[in-house]
């Protein structure tokens, strides 16, 4: 959250909610409708992301817009705005570069990376380059300590950075290129990203094929495969079999568990959904759950090494 000691917001004018058009109003109505009836205020955080997606930061207009929609005072909305770090008080660049300088990343090089990028951009913390392309900030823990040091661009992860790689990313951004995040979808603009954070995702933004993993994420499970380690197995009740692909039907045997017997036998409720029993299952099929699964190393279609998708 934002330091309350330095929290100020520019309310030098009343704000004009009419600058937001019909499409924005329709999007706002959709966001409000996601919460239970009468609980529209729950949509305030998403709505503030929405107004940022239009204006690049929270302006008096955005505050007035949210206050109008939720029947709050502007003071109530401004109080919320000043509490949260992600609501920006000044125009934000096309790309927001956030460098983790919390203890773990900071001590593994994040402090030096942050200093180098400020120098390269010629601006300080929370400032934007004169051409409006890049805003830089230092971030608190981004929950990627196993990839330290990390930075994000418009909140997409660039893992395991060095001064050189970070400088390279920023150079690309400055020249209008969009390097590929290590984990995350292809970069979009800060405003487009704020629309997604507000909760408005289209199929492209959902990027179902974008990489989600990397070496640290898979370190334990790969080692388990190497060592032949598995969790103790259990059998599963397949009397209501899920739809399975043929590949999944070659499951390995695991001993039935006595604990299974303790479960009360209960007639299954009739179901109306269209599920079909799969063919060819053994009398007592057991679970693939029991073993670590093949890693992406053996799956060329899904490379696990983020380096292969790295844009620098």
């Amino acid at each position: 959250m934002t330091n309350f000691r330095t929290s100020v917001i520019n309310l030098d004018r009343p704000g004009d909610p009419s600058v937001f058009g019909e499409q924005t109003r329709a999007a706002a109505a959709e966001l409000i409708s996601r919460y239970p009836a009468g609980q529209g205020r729950s949509a305030l955080l998403p709505l503030l992301h929405l107004v940022q997606s239009e204006q690049g930061y929270v302006t008096p207009d955005g505050i007035a817009f949210c206050a109008d929609l939720l029947d709050l005072t502007k003071a109530q909305v401004a109080a919320v705005v000043t509490f949260y770090t992600m609501y920006k008080r000044t125009p934000t660049g096309e790309y927001l570069v956030s460098v983790c300088t919390n203890t773990l990343c900071g001590m593994l090089g994040g402090d030096e990376i942050f200093a180098a990028l400020k120098e390269q951009l010629g601006v300080g913390n929370n400032q934007t380059t004169p051409d409006g392309m890049v805003t830089i900030e230092h971030a608190e823990c981004l929950a990627a300590c196993d990839y330290a040091p990390v930075l994000t661009v418009n909140y997409e992860f660039f893992d395991n950075q060095t001064i050189g790689s970070a400088r390279n990313i920023v150079s690309q951004l400055q020249s209008g290129e969009r390097p590929m995040p290590t984990r995350g979808a292809p970069l979009c603009s800060f405003k487009q990203m704020e629309r997604q954070i507000a909760g408005l995702w289209d199929e492209q933004a959902l990027a179902p094929d974008a990489n989600s993993s990397g070496v640290p994420t898979e370190a334990g499970v790969k080692l388990a495969i190497e060592r032949g380690d598995t969790a103790p197995s259990y059998s599963i009740d397949t009397s209501a079999p899920a739809e399975r692909t043929p590949a999944a039907e070659t499951v390995k045997a695991a001993p039935a568990r006595p604990a299974e017997d303790e479960k009360p036998a209960r007639p299954r409720p009739k179901r109306t959904t269209t599920r079909r029993p799969s063919k060819g299952q053994a009398e007592q099929p057991t679970s693939e759950h029991d073993a670590p699964l093949e890693t992406a190393e053996s799956d060329p279609a899904n490379p696990a090494d983020p380096g292969t998708e790295k844009g620098d």
């Binding site: 949260y84 770090t85 001590m107 180098a116 196993d146 994420t217 370190a219 499970v221 179901r271 093949e294």
Partner: protein
């Protein structure tokens, strides 16, 4: 000691976040089984498994579920809610994000089971706003689950309705505190509420609410499938199940290592390929920045809920940050203190002012202007913060300060006597690898 991937077992498989891949690997089998049980039987099962919350406090999940008042037929009742705390931001903690990025359906399956058990029709996943890729994967997974009939009206023909709303935060660590999270979810400043009343009776919209962590709910489908005894047998007495140890810092291969609760740091460092730069271990945290530091004397401490408390720390989020002899403990604690000062919501004076004072003193120490008296002031401040605030943020801020002075007083004194950090020479190359 062996690795026991349960929650992480799909990591690294082909696009495990897609529902067809999840289903192929037994996905939603737990939900199908859960729907054959009565809700109270499910609560009893989770209680019997002794699943303890993975968010840091280790509270028994089944008890949380049981605390939700269930009126008899015909009695008036408020709606019930399930809220998922996915506001992962505790320094060092990096488990829930990879879990949601790679295997979001296991959490979603757990949410649906939890909703069925506590008789809630609405669940809210509160994900920190910066975690866009995790939000993306969870939104995609919710859409897929709805299209397949696992969510929405009449889940799998059971007559039970369930809806999940994915809600992004806006950058505030304090919203990982459950009552601050609820205030934030209601569209307010995220400041903790006084407890009692607890969320189980007066939670979201003043209605009965279960607040569970991502890893907690992701464990539920496996408990339904495997049974309470299977789950209990995965870990030591009192700390059932596996733990995802998130190793970071000065180890050769940092990452997510899922092993039984009660694994030791010595074993974990071995799994991670040893220390990363040939230096010896110096200090570490067993569960994030809010847990008191431990040292080489704790290498063989079993990392489970109860043993770590006996050693004077906390299991927390099992986020193990590892530092070596070239790392300055004063610098590390300074940075954590700056974090807590930045993230203190300002509601309680001891936390707000105390963390502010911490930072001023650590600045002095690092700049070579510290005095021996500053150490006493730090300890005095800690005494005045600990236990004197609504929530655990202030308590957490004192952990690294007090424990580092306890174990490394000499290093603090070296900062005083040497007028600055004795490690400066060894840190300049840090970013140049």
């Amino acid at each position: 000691m062996s690795l026991t991937p349960v929650l992480t077992k799909r990591f690294g498989t082909a696009q495990p976040w897609k529902i067809e891949n999840y289903e192929r690997l037994d996905g939603y089998a737990g939900l199908r089984q859960a729907l054959t049980l009565l809700p109270d039987e499910l609560i009893a099962l989770v209680k019997d498994s002794n699943l303890r919350g993975r968010g840091g406090a280790g509270f028994p999940t089944g008890m949380k579920w049981q605390f939700i008042p269930q009126p008899k037929a015909g009695e008036p009742s408020k709606p019930h809610y399930v809220v998922i705390n996915a506001d992962e931001g505790e320094p060092g903690t990096c488990r829930d994000l990879p879990l949601m990025m790679n295997d979001p359906h296991s959490m979603i399956e757990g949410i649906i089971i939890a909703c069925y058990a506590v008789r809630a029709e609405y669940a809210f996943v509160y994900i920190r706003g910066e975690a866009v890729h995790a939000i993306r994967r969870v939104v995609g997974a919710v859409n897929e689950a709805r299209a397949k009939g696992y969510l929405g009206k009449n889940v799998l023909g059971s007559g039970f309705d369930c809806e999940i709303v994915v809600h992004a935060g806006a950058g505030a660590y304090i919203c990982g505190e459950e009552t601050a999270l609820l205030d934030s979810l209601e569209g307010r400043r995220g400041q903790p509420r006084l407890k009692p009343p607890f969320p189980a009776t007066n939670g979201l919209y003043d209605a009965p609410t279960v607040v569970n962590n991502v890893g907690t709910l992701a464990s539920v489908p496996y408990i339904v499938l495997g049974g309470a005894d299977w789950y209990k047998a995965l870990g030591p007495e009192g700390s059932p199940g596996t733990s995802i140890y998130s190793l970071s810092g000065r180890v050769a291969n940092p990452g997510q290592y899922e092993a039984p609760m009660g694994t030791t740091l010595r074993e974990l460092i071995g799994l991670a390929g040893g220390m990363s730069r040939g230096k010896d271990l110096k200090f570490w945290t067993p569960g994030g920045a809010s847990c008191p530091l431990l040292t080489t004397e704790h290498l063989d401490l079993p990392l489970d809920f109860d043993s770590v408390v006996k050693a004077g720390s906390m299991n927390g989020t099992s986020a193990v940050m590892i530092f070596d002899e070239d790392d300055c403990v004063v610098r590390a604690v300074k940075k954590w203190s700056e974090f807590f000062e930045h993230e203190s919501c300002g509601k309680c004076t001891p936390c707000r002012e105390g963390t502010y004072w911490y930072v001023g003193i650590y600045d002095r120490l690092e700049n070579g202007e510290g005095t021996e008296e500053d150490l006493d002031t730090l300890l005095d401040l800690s005494d005045n913060i600990l236990g004197r605030s609504f929530c655990a943020l202030g308590d957490g801020a004192t952990s690294s300060v007090s424990s580092s002075i306890k174990y490394f007083r000499d290093e603090y004194l070296a900062h005083v006597e040497g007028h600055g950090c004795p490690h400066t020479a060894t840190r300049t190359l840090a970013g140049a690898h």
